[in-house]
């Protein structure tokens, strides 16, 4: 329990640090958002409006510590402010348009990729030199080495544009009303297939290789030799003894990957026009939309921290050694 509390304390500290960095970093960047916004009009707004624009966005010349205090106070109230790029929409509302879609798409893709990849890794290590180990692993590593963007475009072109099996964009058909119905679910699945599949294909090799390598090392240990010698069924040895021990590094990696789901699916969303948060992030950076940037960074940071905390707990259960230290 003390261990869990210690970890929790660490994560709280990390959360505060990220809050602060989140406040500082955008303010170090050159340029200012009112000018950036003004520039988007390329001459369609009279320059005289700029002073007024600045005032409307609430740009203050207040000293940094006053701004920082206001920032923390608003955060505690869960108020992320108004987005500049989508002014006057609330940041929470803007993030809300995409958060679920990103979580759904990238979350599922990472889980599938992790599960399938780890399983393949176990099998490959168990049957070392077999076709899985000799052919599939290098093939997946090869696919994973392609730039993701290119792989996704290729998938879009072949299966979407060329063969017409999958829709070219969006998360659901534009003439369907989102509803809890089989038709809608099928439509969402059809739209998610290509983007999810391309993420899975691009990352599967990594999970498989790392699982295979740790597994091979584990298979050489005395514990495993003893298990064999005791005459335990091979299936049990493979899963309960070898795989469970070999899983640790992959689980740690999984925690990281889950956290990056929100930001990492940026390219997917661009290629497939998926209405997620990744694209919002680019837009926020381009428009120097501090509130939106901060809102997104916070969401992502907290997701990483939460996922890592969950992984810590999982490791505690998987690995007796962590418990011994606790």
């Amino acid at each position: 329990m003390a261990y869990v509390l210690r970890r929790l304390g660490f994560y709280l500290l990390a959360a505060w640090a990220s809050l602060t960095l989140n406040f500082v970093i955008p303010r170090l960047a050159p340029g200012d958002p009112a000018s950036a916004m003004f520039a988007r009009f390329e001459g369609r707004v009279q320059p005289e409006a700029m002073v007024a624009l600045r005032a409307a966005f609430g740009f203050t010349e207040a000293p940094w510590y006053v701004q920082y205090a206001t920032y923390l106070k608003h955060l505690l109230r869960g108020d992320l402010g108004l987005s500049y790029a989508y002014y006057p929409a609330r940041v929470s509302e803007v993030i809300g348009t995409g958060l679920l879609w990103t979580l759904g798409l990238a979350g599922c893709a990472v889980i599938i990729s992790f599960t399938v990849g780890s399983m393949l890794g176990v099998l490959a290590a168990w049957n070392r030199g077999g076709w899985l180990d000799a052919a599939v692993a290098p093939a997946l590593a090869f696919l994973g080495a392609f730039p993701y963007f290119w792989l996704a475009m290729l998938a879009l072109y072949l299966f979407g544009f060329g063969l017409g099996w999958f829709p070219l964009r969006h998360a659901y058909s534009h003439d369907l009303e989102p509803a809890l119905s089989l038709t809608f679910a099928a439509d969402v699945a059809r739209h998610a297939f290509l983007p999810a599949a391309s993420i899975v294909v691009a990352t599967l090799g990594g999970w498989m290789l790392s699982m295979r390598n740790t597994m091979v090392a584990t298979l050489g240990t005395d514990t495993l030799r003893l298990a064999h010698a005791k005459g335990l069924p091979p299936r049990q040895v493979m899963l309960r003894y070898a795989a469970r021990n070999a899983l640790l590094p992959n689980v740690t990696g999984f925690g990281m990957a889950l956290g990056f789901v929100l930001s990492g699916s940026l390219l997917t969303e661009i290629v497939f026009s998926y209405p997620g948060t990744g694209y919002l992030l680019i837009l926020a950076v381009r428009n120097q939309d501090y509130p939106l940037m901060q809102g997104l960074f916070l969401t992502i940071t907290f997701a990483v921290l939460a996922a890592n905390f969950a992984v810590d707990l999982l490791c505690l259960w998987l690995d007796p050694r962590t418990r011994a230290h606790a």
């Binding site: 009112a34 005032a55 989508y86 059809r190 026009s273 209405p275 381009r286």
Partner: protein, 546 residues
Amino acid sequence: MRAALWALTLLLVACKVEPRPRPPGVLFVSVEQQSAWVRNFNPLFAGAGSRWPTRAGVYECLEIFTPAKGQWTPWLATGHAWSEDRRTLRFTLRQGVRWSDGEPFTADDVAFTFKLLKQHAALDAGGVWRFVEDVRAEDPLTVAFQFSRVYIPGFAELAQQPIVPRHVWEEVADPVTFTNPRPVATGPFTEVTVFRNQVYELGRNPHYWQPGKPAVSALRFLAFPTNDQANLALVEGEVDWAGNFVPAVDRTFVARDPVHHGRWFPLYGSTVFLYPNTTLPPLDDVRVRKALSMALDRERLVEIAMYGYTRPADATALNDAYAAWRDADAAQGAWVKHDLEAAKRLLDEAGLKEGPDGLRRKADGQPLALDIEVVGGWSDWVRAGQVVARDLRKLGVQAQLRTYEFGAWYARLQKGEFQLAISWSLDGPTPYTFYKWQLSPRTVRPVGEVAASNWHRFGDAEADELLSRFERADSEAEQRALMAAVQRRYSELAPSIPLFPNPSWGESNSRRFTGFPTEQNPYARLSPHAEPDSLLVLTSLTPREP
């Protein structure tokens, strides 16, 4: 395992579903590139991320300017008149106009809208309260603007202001942060029938003042986050009307269905310039600026940077929206023609002699080195910058292209902390705004202070005198004579180096709708970005019989 099989089966079944036919009469438009829609229909705040039709289909203005004809089309107002002393402008409003909730539209709404701009300076994008003193509804159909000085160009700012209903907006606590989710307006499309993150739809105004219009039953907007996605949808026939940059448009789009696929890229966009920082020697010397200009092969430049969609700028730097204003003499200025020998002679004259290594030397013996600044991701300008740098090197100038992230680039441009930079110009219904921000000392800010335009920091008293007289000139002949004089002055001084006018991008697919503007029928700009022209287009389109 069984769940996985079930999911797979579901997927395969789903794949078999045929695409549903599109509802007839629904116009698919692609103007904004967004990954997800945010519901905002505030027409007043220019800084707002309001949805495109807000200022071009939902709300309307008093009169609409059409560059192709150089004319004002009466809209919510049937006409206007100046008082004898040019200090009062009266608009006569159209009879029988109603708001989409059935309430009548009156002069009171117009006066109220402008008073809102006065109370909330952030809403006054046109800066009308710099020259307007007061606005009054004299009777239900007459609204009078009292000017603080004679300022004829102010008419355009007043005529194109979107008007909001008083009975709705007087209840709004803060019109700057109001997202106006259910607009009440006078435009052809006011009813938000669908609003989701990927798609929204606007239906017809039940009380629209033009009988029988619009013939289109609804506008539908799909979210396309990138140009590539929007272009794919256009090529596939999924979009009926678009305003996107399409590379090699004739081959990739028009040729696919020459009967229905149309594009019209008139050169009505802002002019792209190579701005020299005129506070720095030797760029303060007109001979040097003209020499740099003459070194440029603009024919190649527009071919390489702009796919040949535009033409080299002439010596007035005006785009084609001002064709009627262009002074033929001023346009003939030789300093925008490619002539490397003449350019070299000019540099010799300016005292920038050629060194033994072929590089031009400044008075202190240092080689003349100039940085050209552009935004990193803007590929057309980056290509233009590369051509410019290469041409300048032929002149013996050590020209380097420097790319910056947008924020950094724009900050340097505004503060005048650059040597050469590629950027746009400011435009209005007449060339007045354009030249004011090219030439007027009133727009010059000191280096280090943010300037909204006139980044090259050039002011000329003689040109300013002409522009000031233009503000008071109300006869067309006088206006034209003054503007011609301004153009000759511009061409003489070469304060900035014009490269090419930007096309205004517009593509149409007439498979389902007819009546799009074309080069032969230029009743409005095809580009949906050219607000408020879209009001003319949206009320002219007719669905084809199924």
